[in-house]
């Protein structure tokens, strides 16, 4: 089943690449090829927000005693890691888009700055995950850290409407509620978003598997250590 999904993801990504690099036109007025980077940048940004949303949601599910399940914590971690990768890519591809478009690799406007902060917030989250000793400890601390960090996601997304920024308004979701591009470009963008979302889901699945195995390994090592400890200590036999 997972293999089928992986294949489907690859196919979708492939089709997207073909459309993005060949079928769609360059931006008419400038002979502008760099617009093709948007078919990467927009989906990776969307996936990053999605990933951190999933982390926040699963963290919440873990925190609430009634819904607590160790799996939620592992999913939260997996999704956050994938999210950090996608955020990093968003910044890099955005930068590559920015140089030919605005003439600069970076601008300190609201959207870029809040996205950079997002990157570091979750980098800290990942560091926190690695230092906690027990699963319970990790679950609680990381859940709270994830919920705090998630506050930056809506701020980052809405920053283009709140502040006068260099970064452009949303292509689909914007205050004028008008779709700003059409034709093959719009189709390719939607396709790209679908493709990257599938990729996200697949990566999280695989990363979750890995996390599960790591948990199993740690539990086993702990049990081993305890057994060794018990064996090392002389056992008192109670007098009959």
């Amino acid at each position: 089943m997972k293999r089928l999904f992986a294949a489907a993801t690859l196919v979708t990504l492939g089709v997207t690449a073909v459309f993005a690099l060949w079928v769609t036109p360059e931006r008419e007025n400038q002979g502008f090829q760099a617009v093709r980077l948007l078919y990467l940048h927009v989906p990776t940004a969307w996936v990053a927000y999605l990933a951190f949303g999933v982390t926040a949601l699963t963290s919440l599910l873990w925190l609430i005693p009634r819904t607590r399940d160790a799996a939620w914590d592992l999913i939260a971690g997996a999704s956050a890691e994938v999210g950090v990768v996608f955020t990093g890519l968003t910044l890099v591809v955005g930068s590559l888009w920015g140089k030919p478009t605005w003439g600069t690799w970076w601008e300190w406007d609201a959207r870029l700055t809040t996205t950079a902060i997002l990157f570091f917030l979750y980098l800290g989250y990942l560091a926190l995950r690695r230092t906690a000793a027990t699963a319970d400890e990790r679950g609680k601390r990381c859940a709270i850290a994830a919920l705090i960090a998630f506050v930056d996601v809506p701020i980052s997304y809405l920053s283009v409407t709140w502040w006068q920024t260099l970064h452009q308004q949303g292509t689909v979701f914007n205050p004028q509620n008008k779709v700003l591009i059409d034709g093959s470009m719009a189709f390719t963008l939607v396709l790209a978003v679908v493709a990257f979302t599938m990729l996200y889901a697949y990566l999280v699945m695989e990363r979750f598997e890995l996390a599960r195995l790591e948990e199993g390994r740690e539990a086993r090592e702990l049990a081993q250590a305890i057994a060794e400890r018990i064996a090392a200590e002389p056992v008192e036999v109670a007098p009959a």
């Binding site: 090829q33 990467l40 890519l89 030919p100 695989e206 890995l210 195995l213 390994r217």
Partner: protein, 43 residues
């Protein structure tokens, strides 16, 4: 403006390489862990 293509090529390459590397890393560690856990069970 054919020099724009450079940015596009770099961008797509970076994304592709990152995704593939990440995937390979996950699979590699998974395989290693599965093997060592299996060895412990058997050995």
């Amino acid at each position: 403006m054919s020099t724009n293509w450079n940015y596009v090529i770099v961008g797509y390459t970076v994304v592709a390489v990152t995704m593939v590397s990440y995937f390979v890393w996950i699979k590699g560690r998974t395989r290693k862990l599965r093997r060592s856990l299996r060895d412990e069970d058997n050995g």
